[in-house]
Amino acid sequence: MSRAGDQERLEVHIKHKSYRKASGGELQVLGALSIAVASGEIAALVGPSGCGKTTLLRIIAGLDSDFEGTVRLPAHGRLGVVFQEPRLLPWRTVEENVRLAAPQASDAVLDGLFDTLGLSGHRRHYPGELSLGLARRTALARAFAVEPELLVLDEPFVSLDAELATRLRAELAELVARRPVTTLLVSHDVDEVIGLADRVFLLTGNPARVAADVPIQNPRSARTADEVAAIRNELSRKAIAVPV
């Protein structure tokens, strides 16, 4: 099934992934699962907490090579990752943190990113001086500044208040609209991803498998409240239909 644009696709085929338990024996975290994300598509991985989403992301990001299966990253595999915690260098300023990860980023690109994310006034601040929301934005700026071919976001809005999370989601949508990038977004919350994703993978836990692969046809900007509600219903029906 060779098509133009395959080069840009993210393809993941996992056969098996398990951890050795401290008490001996093995704990299987991921079962056989495959996901494919087309170029420029935002795919969401949704599943209950502790179902292996983060493990899957770590495998895709190349941080865990102890698994059976294959991962094919888009193009050159340049990654932008937003971890669950901001993971900034506390001894470098906001701007230095971004520049260290993305040395090739031009001043104009950085200005634009800082502007969109409301960080312009914080460029010289150290991470210890930032709120969690601002630190998250810095992590987002860093991931976009590398102009990634695959953007990976691990629950980037968790433990923010609802209003701030909504605003950050809007900023993320704006950034992706400006520079389309293949994106994998992890969340345990269907509502969180429904306005953003082009495709939703529902995962079940213990070990994780793909329960449903739901493409969303309508482009993000054209989705009405009714449609969003319909998608939500469909997703929750599928989630229930699958034994967890």
Partner: protein
């Protein structure tokens, strides 16, 4: 207020010293004034500056080598289990060998040379620096490591911006304790087998029972080390910790 307290404390020390010298007599414990005059006399002849300079150079060279090697070994042992397994017995051996044994053996095996003297000091300081840095390397944040890996930072960049800043409190601790240890060992090395330096002068003064000169050299060198601490170590520490939010 702080300064006033410090000065008062120093004044008290001088007063105690002066009182004791009145009881003990100038042969056993010369007065602060006599020691001060001796320092001036040694300074005039140029001997003080020369000997202080020689000792300071030995301190600087051996300290730098010990810190550099200690950082490399400590990082390797903290990060790589195999290196830790192999290096640990050596470390235990060096940590528990008395300084004097290392110095005497170095002089016997390599002759009364500058290299032997410096090597002996380095070998005394090295295990302590290694142990301290190893602790730091074990405490490195894996999350930041992964971040650096994901964004494909070069080795040099990781070392400079991710690893060294995390090690800086450990390096500062190793430098602090190291500097005072190194200069004390340098004096012994000079006493036993060098023809110049503060340690050598103190050795000569000991044979002549010249307490004034012993105190003059010791105090002059303490002053030099105090200056190093105040004008080099502390500003450096302030620089590396500038990112920490200040507690009001």
């Amino acid at each position: 207020m702080n300064l006033a307290l410090r000065l008062a404390s120093i004044a008290l020390l001088l007063a105690v010293w002066f009182t004791c010298s009145q009881f003990a007599g100038p042969r056993l414990l010369p007065s602060p004034q006599a020691v001060g005059l001796a320092i001036v006399a040694e300074a005039r002849s140029g001997a003080l500056a020369f000997n202080l300079g020689v000792t300071l150079a030995r301190v600087a060279v051996s300290f730098s080598i010990a810190m550099a090697l200690g950082t490399v070994f400590g990082l390797a042992m903290g990060r790589i289990r195999l290196a830790d397994r192999i290096g640990d017995p050596w470390l235990v051996l060096l940590l528990n060998l008395p300084a004097l044994v290392i110095i005497v053996l170095a002089y016997i095996w390599a002759g009364l040379t500058e290299t032997a003297a410096l090597a002996a000091v380095v070998l005394n300081k090295l295990p302590l620096a290694t142990v301290t840095v190893r602790e730091g390397a074990r405490a490195l944040d894996r999350n930041l490591d992964e971040m650096a890996a994901v964004f494909r930072m070069s080795r040099w960049k990781r070392l400079r911006h991710v690893v060294l800043p995390q090690l800086s409190p450990y390096l500062a601790a190793a430098s602090r304790s190291g500097l005072s240890l190194v200069w004390k060992i340098v004096l012994i090395v000079e006493l036993l087998g060098r023809p110049n330096g503060v340690g050598f002068e103190i050795g000569v003064a000991f044979q002549l029972f010249d307490v004034t000169r012993i105190l003059a050299y010791a105090l002059a060198f303490v002053a030099v080390m105090l200056a190093v601490e105040t004008f080099l170590v502390q500003p450096f520490e302030r620089h590396v910790s500038r990112w920490r939010p200040r507690t009001a």
